[in-house]
Symmetry: C2
Subunit: 329 residues, 2 copies
């Protein structure tokens, strides 16, 4: 028995070592983050909530972390990638819609007239989205998105959009999951758009994606059931809609949130204003050389109130330029 026990002990030690390595305790869990206040706070938070018997310990079932997508997990310039998808779809579908040649905002898209497109405003964008995102089954829509992601290229960076995810955030996701967290996306983007690539790109399965949605309808077509996407908004997962979406889809209050814009302000507030250890991280786009520099003055992903109020609220501001060793994988 003595021999067996010592064997078990050595097996146990080997397993513990393997676990420590895999869980980032024996090595750096965030190698693409520069050593600094932001990285230190993320690591300190994870250690605090996973320390058994510690005052900030959180049971694994309640370790929920939420991530904004556009500008937090992947880039969002020169426009939200889903809008660039809609624009590409208008061009692809134009032969079937001769009326678009003379009808705004479609005319603007087909002529590449960005000024006229901007003038169409939110209403115009919504028209583009409805014309390109609805009127088909959910399976058909997912296939179109998948095909676009496989073939389309970012206008300036000339890479597939799914290459433009942030390596430091992939590490943060993996680090949290290795410490028992369930990671969710809470995006202003369309839930059925993001679900197409969330598992492959972020390791986040479809059921852990919360987003904006259109209404859908169940139908049996030729004996085969389908779900059809209708040209009506069901839910806008943005601003005060984000905590509402979290409550609706997750039903628990997360303990960590990673975001980048004022559209995430209420989500960050909801997550961090509860008692106990909480982590609120705001990514600041200040890296014109490697990505884009914007925040206070951007038409996309504007960040101003978060910068003003964040520090007093205990939020961690991440500078892409200073805190990240690399941006893309």
């Amino acid at each position: 028995m003595g021999a067996r026990l010592s064997t078990l002990a050595s097996v146990g030690a080997a397993l513990a070592l393997a676990a420590a390595t895999a869980f980032g305790q024996g090595s750096d869990p965030l190698p693409s983050w520069n050593d600094g206040a932001a990285k230190a706070r993320i690591v300190a938070f994870v250690q605090a909530v996973t320390q058994p018997g510690g005052k900030d310990f959180v049971a694994p079932a309640d370790r929920i972390a939420v991530f904004d997508n556009d500008g937090t997990l992947w880039s969002e310039q020169p426009a939200y990638f889903q809008l660039l998808f809609a624009i590409d779809r208008v061009k692809a579908l134009a032969p079937k819609h001769p009326e678009w040649k003379t009808k705004q905002p479609f005319k603007a898209v087909l002529e590449g007239d960005m000024k006229a497109l901007a003038a169409a405003g939110e209403k115009g964008i919504l028209e583009l989205v409805m014309a390109t995102h609805t009127g088909m089954t959910t399976d058909q829509f997912a296939a179109v998105v998948k095909d676009w992601l496989a073939t389309a290229r970012h206008p300036r960076l000339a890479r597939p959009y799914t290459d433009l995810v942030y390596q430091p955030m992939l590490e943060a996701l993996a680090y949290l999951r290795a410490n028992g967290f369930k990671t969710y996306i809470v995006s202003g983007g369309g839930v059925e758009f993001v679900r197409v690539f969330s598992e492959a790109r972020y390791g986040i399965p479809p059921e852990q994606v919360v987003g904006s949605s259109v209404r859908t309808k169940y139908e049996v077509r030729d004996g085969k059931p389908v779900i059809v996407r209708l040209p009506e908004i069901d839910f806008i997962d943005d601003k005060a809609g984000k905590p509402v979406g979290i409550n609706k889809f997750i039903g628990k209050r997360p303990i960590a949130a990673f975001v980048n814009s004022d559209g995430d302000f209420q989500m960050l507030e909801w997550v961090t204003a509860a008692p106990g250890a909480r982590l609120g991280v705001l990514v600041r786009h200040d890296d014109a050389a490697r990505e884009f520099a914007y925040d206070r003055n951007s038409h996309v992903g504007r960040l101003a109130r978060g910068l003003d109020e964040g520090p007093a609220r205990g939020w961690t501001i991440v500078s892409m330029q200073n805190d990240w060793k690399r941006v893309y994988p």
Copy 2:
């Protein structure tokens, strides 16, 4: 090394045995089910989709099983328990609402006039639900439900409602989870009502409950963020709404469904009409001695179309009387 290897082998054998027992391969995974066609089909399905290399193998990530709640996981007679909750709440809140003494359907509830209540119809029920389920924060609502579940008793069976869950279904849930399934509730009941007890009673966490909902609103009250329940329907998770809810909340097509009424018909159709091994189970309430006997003629949980079309669609009909050794734990 020889000694270590043989020690490891014996440790391995012990672990394998423990796993086999826990996973129901060395013992009966469904001890409260009589041996018969229904039990055999459930077991055969689970074995088929978990057999590595088998033609029906399904990767763990896609092993999604959905369960209706009322009448499938717990009883639903003489009325949905959530309606009995609403009735109890009307009585409890009546001192603050003197106008209810003369206003239907509240008057009917306060006077115990079931005929007048029935006459108020769905519109009346909705009024009761809105008056008792909204106008408070989500935290306040959850506390009220929790308190009611702890103190209320079923009118005929004189037991707490959470005692009236079906032991055979608890075993089916555990059996599926032990085989890598993620189990979800997809209920016509209120999602925030069911979430209060789903984890403790069924082992199903809040984020795996899909249900009907009211609209909610994010607010900051005295510097403290809250989510407020509004008196407006957001989503009805019933009939054709069930596959819509599954698509919206889960974003994957489940491979198994357990249900009991025609309100679940479309969900069962959606789950079972896809290619590959699929399991559709319909529980028939035919046990007046141990529970209730109803189906074709019930005002609650009516089951007729499912019985008529189920067998040809390959659905498994479970007779509570014949297939279940025991009903409640």
